[in-house]
Structure formats: structure tokens, C-alpha cells
């Protein structure tokens, strides 16, 4: 009952939120929503202990796939977004064969190389990827009406509602996975792969599973992005974006589901709203970098550790591995 009230309040808050923001803030809000899915999917991958540097490129795979499919086959945009996720998952499955021969640092670098190769392929093959200039005029979401509300997708507010629903469903699925025996197995693979394997866990299969699922949701987030901004190019998914994802996850903390999301929200607001509005356009990366360093030095367990201090109740429920450490 209490939970229901919280959820309703949250939903109401999200419905009102864009209406109190300026236009540019509304745009930030849409990106933030999409990035939340991106970073939450990234966390699923880190559950098994692997850190990838190719996640944003996989997001791009979803973006390119959805953009191209809707354009060439006339697939409706919502289905294109789904297809984008599936293509990203399939590409990840293919990549998992070489990549999961590696672990740790080598996986990090290997995933980076694989991602860069994909990006360079987009650059090199003007047909169909549009080369360095990328794809333009990507089909927007078609406007529609649900009676009491007209979705007009040139408005960031409308797209925010749409994206929030898609992202909400995806987060729910990610959450269900994490809190399931599958999620527990991911943790097991991370913390003590030998013992997990001796308990009959196929390590390679579970690492691959986490990678493929995470990639599928990253692909969906990419497709959401593509149909919002209408133009994408290889540099939309370069390593700088990856660095942002990495820092959201680490500054937020990765031992809880909400940690990376928290990191994403806080850092985005800091970077895009506070620093921008203070008029610090040129010093923005400098301050951002400083924040990054200070937070890793003085808050090594992430923002989530601060939240945990306030909410630490010994809940004797199942599956609460995130209180570990």
C-alpha cells in the first residue's frame, strides 16, 4: 500500500516535471531518461564482474539498426526500436565469442577495440551507414493521440513521456532479472567463479547472457536516441560518451541497482544544468573532471554508499546482495 502511493507520487512527479522546465532543460531531461537506461543496462554487465568499453557503440548499433530499418523497410518506429535492441543483442552475441576469451583488463581493451572497429565500419561504408556524416532525417515517432493527451513528438515533453514509459518497462525487466536466481548467478560468477562453476554454473554462458541482455537494452536506448534527435553519426557514440557512462556508474556506485542511475542523474544535472547555467561553458569539463577525481578519492563506494547510510535497515529479505562490502 505504501509502495503504491510512492509509485503514484513518482509517476505524478514525472508527468509534471517537464512542464516546470525550460525548453533546453526538457531536452536534457529526454537525454537523461535515455541515458538512465544506458547506464542501468551497463550495470547488468558489470554484475558478472566485466567492464566493457564498447557499451556505447553497442548503443549505437541499436540506433543505426532502428534508423535504417524504419527508413528502408518502413517498419513502424516503435517496432524499429525493439528491432534495434535485438540487433544490438545479436551483434553482442557474435562479439562474445572473441571477447569472452578475455577477462579483466584485456576484456576492457578488447571490447574497446571491437567497438572502435564497428565505429570505423560506419565511417568507411557510406552505404548504408552514411560515412562520417552519419544518418540524417531519421523517421521521427509518428504523432498520435490517446484521447486526453496528444503526443506531438516535436515537443520534448511528449518524447519524454514516451521514453519514460519505454525506459520504465526496461528498468522493470532489468530489476526483475537482477532480483531473480539468474541475477544471483551473475553475482556468483563475479565474486567466486570457481565455486560457481563447481556448483554447475556455465560461466561462459552466464557472462554471455549478461552481455547480450545488457547490449539489447543499450540498443533500445540508442534507438530511442536516434528517433529523437533524427541524426546520428559515428562520433555520437565515441569513447567520450563511454567515459561518461563509466563515470556515472563509478561515481554512483555499482553495488546497488540505483547507484549508476543516481550517478547519471546527479552528474547530468551538475554538468548540464548547474554548470551550464552558471555560465561556465568552457570550464565545464575542468570542473567535471575535478568532481570525478574528488568523488573517487573521497567517496570510493559511490553516491549510493551515502544513501545507504541513511536507509540502512537490516531487511532480512532474499536477494539483497547489494548490501555487501
Amino acid at each position: 500500500m505504501r509502495n503504491l502511493i510512492i509509485w503514484i507520487a513518482l509517476a505524478a512527479g514525472l508527468i509534471v516535471l517537464p512542464n516546470v522546465l525550460s525548453f533546453s532543460q526538457q531536452e536534457v531531461l529526454v537525454f537523461l531518461t535515455i541515458n538512465i537506461l544506458l547506464v542501468a543496462s551497463y550495470r547488468l554487465l558489470t554484475l558478472t564482474g566485466e567492464w566493457s568499453l564498447g557499451h556505447v557503440v553497442i548503443m549505437g548499433v541499436g540506433a543505426y539498426a532502428s534508423a535504417l530499418l524504419t527508413k528502408t523497410t518502413g517498419l513502424p518506429v516503435p517496432l524499429g526500436i525493439l528491432a534495434g535492441g535485438m540487433v544490438a543483442a545479436l551483434i553482442a552475441l557474435a562479439l562474445s565469442y572473441p571477447l569472452f576469451r578475455m577477462k579483466g583488463f584485456y576484456f576492457l581493451i578488447g571490447s574497446f577495440a571491437a567497438g572502435e572497429i564497428i565505429r570505423l565500419l560506419w565511417k568507411r561504408f557510406r552505404d548504408p551507414f552514411g560515412g562520417t556524416k552519419g544518418l540524417k532525417g531519421i523517421d521521427p515517432m509518428p504523432d498520435f493521440s490517446v484521447g486526453f493527451y496528444n503526443f506531438d513528438f516535436f515537443e520534448p515533453t511528449s518524447y519524454f513521456y514516451f521514453a519514460a514509459i519505454v525506459v520504465g518497462v526496461c528498468l522493470w525487466i532489468l530489476w526483475r532479472i537482477e532480483k531473480s536466481p539468474v541475477g544471483l548467478t551473475f553475482h556468483a560468477v563475479h565474486w567466486q567463479d570457481k565455486l560457481a562453476q563447481a556448483s554447475g554454473v556455465n560461466l561462459r554462458a552466464y557472462r554471455t547472457l549478461a552481455f547480450v541482455i545488457a547490449s539489447g537494452f543499450a540498443g533500445i536506448s540508442g534507438a530511442l536516441l536516434a528517433h529523437y534527435i533524427g541524426t546520428i553519426n559515428p562520433n555520437s557514440f565515441d569513447v567520450e560518451v563511454m567515459v561518461f557512462v563509466l563515470t556515472w556508474a563509478i561515481v554512483g556506485g555499482t553495488s546497488t541497482f540505483y547507484g549508476p542511475i543516481l550517478g547519471c542523474v546527479v552528474l547530468t544535472i551538475l554538468n548540464e544544468v548547474v554548470l551550464r547555467e552558471l555560465g561556465l561553458e568552457q570550464t565545464r569539463p575542468l570542473i567535471y573532471g575535478l568532481i570525478l577525481i574528488l568523488s573517487i578519492l573521497f567517496m570510493p563506494n559511490g553516491l549510493e554508499s551515502i544513501v545507504q547510510k541513511f536507509t540502512r535497515r537490516k531487511e532480512a529479505g532474499l536477494m539483497r546482495p547489494e548490501e555487501a562490502k
Partner: protein, 255 residues
């Protein structure tokens, strides 16, 4: 009749060192079989080969007559051979119950789609019941929500066994399970092992504690410097000149 488990000419070389050298022995179904030998004799290495953690350099591991050498550890486990590790190897960051739940991975294989939609209630309940049973069996019933890393040494060893037991294996390989336990706990644990055995679980046991070995085992294989030394019942092994020689000659520790 084929034995449940048989190792044939099992050999493991690490570079120039031959840690296990042409080892042969059989483990019969429903027995407790001891594997003893001085420190460095190659017992853990033998376990590692049986469980699929190492691929033998030579020789074979036969499970019910089927050659399982060279399979990966999870493939071996799925055939009913489950092991514990010499040093308390646990998911220290997870709770005791979660540790045991990982142990139920094989009988209650997780399914991701069922998990998302909540169609796996029965499996989850089954796994939960099984895990709690295993924990209670090993006396950890009151500690289910503790972090495994916070347990005492003796409890950690018990948890390692509970994780292995939770999958209800046919044969369980225990590597020095009594280390870190006081005599009281050891005695209690011995009782539990006898019960496991009478439930039909075969046990292959490596252990320091000679008293425990002699009290538990139906059959004992003794090895030294990677080679087979002697085999027989407790009484035979106790008085076997080669065994005495190996332990006294090795002079340091009885292991």
C-alpha cells in the same frame, strides 16, 4: 561391476614437476573413501583433475565407466560430482542463504524469461526450501542472513559443504573439511557425514585429521609424492609400513 568413480593412471605435470604420477584407485558407491598423504603429495591436484578444474596430463577419470577427464568443471558437476575447496572458498559478499541458493543451481536451473514474468515461483520456492534444508543440516539455520564472509572459520567450512550438498550430488569431494574446526565441531561434522553417506551420497575425503579419517572411512588410499602408496581399510592403513614410513620419513606434518 563398474565403480562409481575410478581414476586410471592419472597424471599431472606442472612444467618439470610431476604432482600426480600414474595414480589409480576406485571409489565404490555409497562409501566414504579417504585420500591421504603427506603435504604436497598431490591430493588437491587429484581433486582438481577429478572435478575438471585441471585437465589431466595423462590418464583418465571414469564416472560410472564414462570418461569425464577434460570436461569443464560445470560439466562434471552436472554429472553429479561436486567438490569443496581446500581454503574456505565462498561468496563472501553474499548471505549464507544466497550461498546455498547458488548451490541449488543444478536442480533448479534458473530461467530468465520465467524469472521476468514471475512464472518460476515453484522453482524458487523449491530452491529456497532445498537451500534452507541444506543449511539446517549443517547447523547454519540461525545464520541464514549473515554475510558468509562474517562467519567463523568452522561455520565457513560447514557452509562450503552445505553449498555442495544443496545440489544433492551423487558424489561429493571434500578437501580438508575439518580444518579450522574444534574437536567438538569435528565430531559433530563426522556424524553429519555418516548421515550423508547413509542417504546414499558417496564421499571422497581428503583430511589431515587421522582420527577423523580412521573413524569415517570405509576405504583409504594413501599417496606420497604423487604416487600410489597403499590402499585398504583403516586398520590396514594404520599399520601399513609404507604409510608409516611416508609420514615419519616426510617427518613434518601428517596431512
Amino acid at each position: 561391476m563398474t565403480s562409481l568413480l575410478q581414476v586410471k593412471d592419472l597424471t599431472m605435470r606442472f612444467g618439470g614437476l610431476t604432482a600426480v604420477d600414474g595414480l589409480n584407485f576406485k571409489v565404490e558407491k555409497g562409501t566414504i573413501h579417504g585420500l591421504i598423504g603427506p603435504n604436497g603429495a598431490g591430493k588437491t591436484t587429484t581433486f582438481n583433475m577429478i572435478s575438471g578444474f585441471y585437465t589431466p596430463s595423462d590418464g583418465a577419470v571414469l564416472l560410472r565407466g564414462e570418461d569425464i577427464s577434460g570436461l569443464q568443471m560445470h560439466e562434471v558437476a552436472r554429472r553429479g560430482v561436486v567438490r569443496t575447496f581446500q581454503h574456505s572458498t565462498l561468496f563472501a559478499e553474499l548471505t549464507v542463504l544466497e550461498n546455498a541458493l547458488v548451490g541449488t543451481h543444478m536442480p533448479f536451473r534458473p530461467n530468465i524469461f520465467a524469472a521476468i514474468f514471475g512464472w518460476d515461483r515453484d522453482d524458487r520456492d523449491g530452491a529456497d526450501a532445498r537451500a534452507r534444508d541444506a543449511l539446517r543440516f549443517f547447523g547454519l539455520g540461525d545464520l541464514m542472513n549473515e554475510h558468509a564472509g562474517d562467519l567463523s572459520h568452522g561455520h565457513q567450512r560447514a557452509l562450503g559443504m552445505a553449498v555442495a550438498y544443496a545440489s544433492h550430488p551423487d558424489i561429493i569431494l571434500l578437501d580438508e573439511p575439518f580444518t579450522g574446526m574444534n574437536p567438538e565441531e569435528t565430531k559433530h561434522m563426522m556424524g553429519l557425514m555418516k548421515r550423508l553417506c547413509s542417504d546414499g551420497i558417496t564421499i571422497l575425503l581428503v583430511e589431515h585429521d587421522m582420527q577423523a579419517i580412521m573413524g569415517l572411512c570405509d576405504n583409504i588410499t594413501c599417496m606420497s609424492f604423487g604416487k600410489f602408496l597403499a590402499e585398504g581399510g583403516p586398520a590396514e592403513i594404520r599399520n601399513h609400513p609404507a604409510v608409516i614410513e611416508a609420514y615419519l620419513g616426510g617427518a613434518r606434518h601428517v596431512a
